[in-house]
């Protein structure tokens, strides 16, 4: 990851050239790692996402494509979709969310354990998309906080991977006890508990 200097400081320190090649008698002789604990935790978190795909519509096909071997979201550590939100920390909301579905989505979000992130996948989840009517929720940020919006109808798999990398960068730069400063947690004026 070229855009992540903290990760490099974390990884490089263990195998400096002065220690010689690995495998001569002992593994990583006199090796050490210097980092901040928060960086190490974030590094572990960002490469071990457990996504929960909340798939309701045609964007799901694109999600399958990203998850499949051709685009292979496993390369970024987010390979293993969980089948319950209680085991997941990354909520992929994929597809149109109706007014009737909205409380269920909120319930799913509340079931996830901290830390958790939400990705709005596609135009419908981000803004309602082409469906500007009484039945469709005009953006899931009315009921859950959204950390990343991926545009497209549906998004290309490259866009999804780009979004995931951006999310990883944001997770790496998180600080304990600090919410994302530019995240609108009060989407519709409703405060989240």
């Amino acid at each position: 990851m070229a855009n992540n200097r903290r990760l490099e400081t974390f990884l490089v320190s263990g195998s400096g050239a002065k220690n010689g090649p690995v495998g001569e008698g002992q593994a990583f002789p006199e090796s050490f790692a210097a980092t901040r604990l928060q960086d190490a935790i974030n590094w572990a978190r960002k490469y071990s996402f457990f996504p929960y795909p909340f798939v309701t519509a045609c964007c799901g096909m694109e999600y399958f494509s990203v998850a499949g071997p051709r685009y292979d979201i496993d390369r970024f550590g987010a390979a293993l979709p969980r089948f319950t939100p209680r085991q997941a920390d990354l909520l992929f909301v994929v597809g149109t969310i109706t007014q009737r579905q909205a409380p269920i989505l909120r319930r799913v979000y509340e079931q996830m354990a901290e830390p958790k992130w939400v990705v709005s996948f596609g135009a419908c989840t981000s803004s309602g998309g082409p469906y500007d009517n009484y039945a469709v929720l005009q953006g899931i940020d009315r009921v859950v906080p959204v950390h990343l919006y991926i545009p497209g109808c549906p998004p290309r798999p490259e866009a999804v991977l780009d979004g995931l990398i951006k999310l990883q960068h944001r997770v790496q730069t998180e600080r304990a006890g600090q919410l994302w400063p530019d995240l609108n947690l009060h989407g519709s004026g409703r405060k989240l508990e």
Binding site: R100, I104, R107
Partner: protein, 220 residues
């Protein structure tokens, strides 16, 4: 195309020769058939709503007709459409542009004149799986008494179709065993496929009431 008007219209005479199916239906139902059309292989009869259940029973049980499958139940809202709206395209365009979305007042609705009465038409599509023919039935119902007999005793599959029509058009089906909303939630107010419902008329998001909720939805 034939006119879809209800009243007498000397400009559109009935076709002189009925299609074979329509001839059988008219012979069997007799004076219950208010009006009939046949165009491009589509046969359609209009019934008075008090005759719907009797006529449907005959259509289902007559071996020469044997309509054993109810394909669809839906409705049409003729709000704002003149009686001759298929030919009176100018009024049709005026009313459509009046009801079109206005961005600055997107939750409001500009209503045209009421138009054709009675307001609603129930549409039933019947199919025979033995004779392989299709018939469409239309019944007009007024707005102030939007009620019609349920066809669930004849075709159990009418259950959900009529619930859908009730949900979106607010037409009540007398004799339906479980008439409640099927797509929308119970707290929804109004019937959104009626022409006087604003297209962008969102309603408040409800609390979660599914499995595991603190206050589960009350039994119907």
């Amino acid at each position: 195309m034939t006119a879809d008007n209800q009243g007498d219209s000397p400009a559109v005479p009935p076709p002189p020769v009925l299609s074979p199916l329509l001839q059988k239906v008219v012979d069997r139902l007799g004076p219950m058939v208010v009006e009939h059309h046949s165009a491009a292989g589509d046969d359609r009869i209009h019934l008075a709503r008090e005759h719907l259940l009797d006529a449907a029973r005959i259509l289902r049980d007559d071996p020469a007709l044997a309509f054993d499958l109810l394909l669809d139940v839906t409705a049409v809202d003729y709000y704002g459409q003149p009686d001759d709206f298929t030919t009176n395209l100018q009024v049709w365009d005026q009313n459509r542009s009046a009801m079109r979305r206005q961005p600055q007042r997107r939750h409001e609705l500009v209503l045209p004149p009421r138009g054709s009465e009675p307001r609603f038409a129930l549409v039933y599509h019947l199919t025979s799986t033995t004779h392989l023919h299709v018939l469409r039935i239309k019944c007009r119902v007024p707005e102030d008494d939007a009620t019609i007999a349920s066809l669930t005793p004849l075709w159990p599959g009418a259950n959900w179709l009529e619930r859908e029509t009730y949900d979106l058009y607010g037409i009540h089906f007398a004799g339906h065993p479980d008439l409640r909303r099927i797509y929308l939630y119970e707290e929804f107010v109004g019937h959104p496929l009626r022409k006087d419902y604003a297209k962008q008329g969102e309603q408040p998001i409800q609390e979660y009431v599914g499995p595991g909720a603190k206050e589960p939805r009350r039994p119907h």
